[in-house]
């Protein structure tokens, strides 16, 4: 009856931003990003990538409620870069890494079956 539509889980509704940024008022160089319609898949990936950045002092993610399809990432830096720059860098590093994995996998798959690739 009042069940939400199934696509609510992965379609960002009109008027909501995919990524919303909010500076932390009590902690210096800290911010919270609200990612709409994302889950542990990207949450943990981004959090761990941020941990590799030595200018990031804290990064963590949470899903405040299982029926609200949003994920929060908190980032605190040492001040030499903004949380936005850190998050942007982490995402770009992940993009490079994923491209690398994709390229290697496609090459390996072509080596094993040269004719039948569809990509």
């Amino acid at each position: 009856m009042n069940a939400p539509d199934r696509y609510e889980k992965f379609v960002v509704p009109d008027g909501l931003k995919k990524v919303a940024y909010e500076r932390d008022t009590k902690v210096p160089n800290a911010a919270t990003f609200t990612l709409q319609r994302e889950d542990h898949t990207m949450g943990n990936l981004i959090r761990m990538q941020l941990h590799r950045d030595k200018h990031v002092m804290f990064s963590g993610y949470k899903i405040p409620h299982p029926l609200e399809y949003r994920m929060l990432i908190k980032v605190q830096t040492d001040g030499s870069k903004t949380p936005i720059e850190a998050a942007d860098g982490a995402l770009k590093d992940l993009q490079d890494e994923l491209n690398d994995i994709r390229e290697q996998f496609v090459k390996e798959a072509e080596r094993q079956q040269p004719e039948a690739m569809i990509f």
């Binding site: 199934r6 889980k9 992940l94 890494e97 994923l98």
Partner: protein
Amino acid sequence: MASIRKTYRRTPKVELRSLTEESCEFVLSNTDVSMANALRRVFISWVPTIAIDLVEITTNTTVLNDEFIAHRLGLLPLVSSRVKEMKSPFESGEDDDWTDVEFHLNVKCTGDDTMDVTSNDIQCDPRHPDVRPVTDPEGKGILIVKLRKNQELNLTAIARKGIGKDHAKWSPVATTFFQFMPEIHINQALMETLTLEQKQEWIDSSPTKVFRLNPITRQVEVENAEAYMYDGECIAKAEELGKPGLVDIHQRQDMFIFKVESTGALKPDAIVVMGLDVLLNKTHDLIESLETEAQSHAAQAGGLDS
């Protein structure tokens, strides 16, 4: 954003071990558990396939009720090699987007014997004959319902593109998992304090064939580290023999053995590549939205925002 960016990226390595029509195995190394787990999650619930979503039943005199049959139809894997050309109902904007594939099923049992209605009885959409239920090597088809004499089933089913996040019927994998590469070190000095019988006894304590006795050197060697099931039997045996620390077993945190088993909807290599594409799209979208968000904040603060 800064033009010169210091990267903290990893340099992963991929080694494909086997690739068949229904499964593939590869080793992903020099990366983090979070990457392995993101890939696993994406294969299960974000790679799109085609599955029956709407069923209109005109006659159903079978023993199974309408919902039961609709559910069973939904779970049939459909060949989804053309899923990239399709749009799901909420992605589609234009009228000429391809969203639906229509199937018909009209069966009636006339003989005295029980009749099996299988996926082979489904009539495919003449506009898209390549979207059809997957076939098994024996060609028996997937059983939907059994009919008695004079029972009848007539229905129209509409298949759509979707993802496993929405409903598990759209998941392209039967199972997908990764395993941490085990790292096994035998304390050879301590091992030499055992008699040959004790060595053999210890080797046999492992339920899977992990260790072997070298007949020439009479030393215990690791035969197949990957066979180790983290059961701890050989560690318990070492303690029982009064030799704790005989073997040291760790899970490597940077090397993963992946196995992807397809339902038949997509080729296993296609699942992996499409999964990576999904993750790439996600990161791309996030970078874009993050940068617009950063710009709007910078504009708001008049450039004062650090």
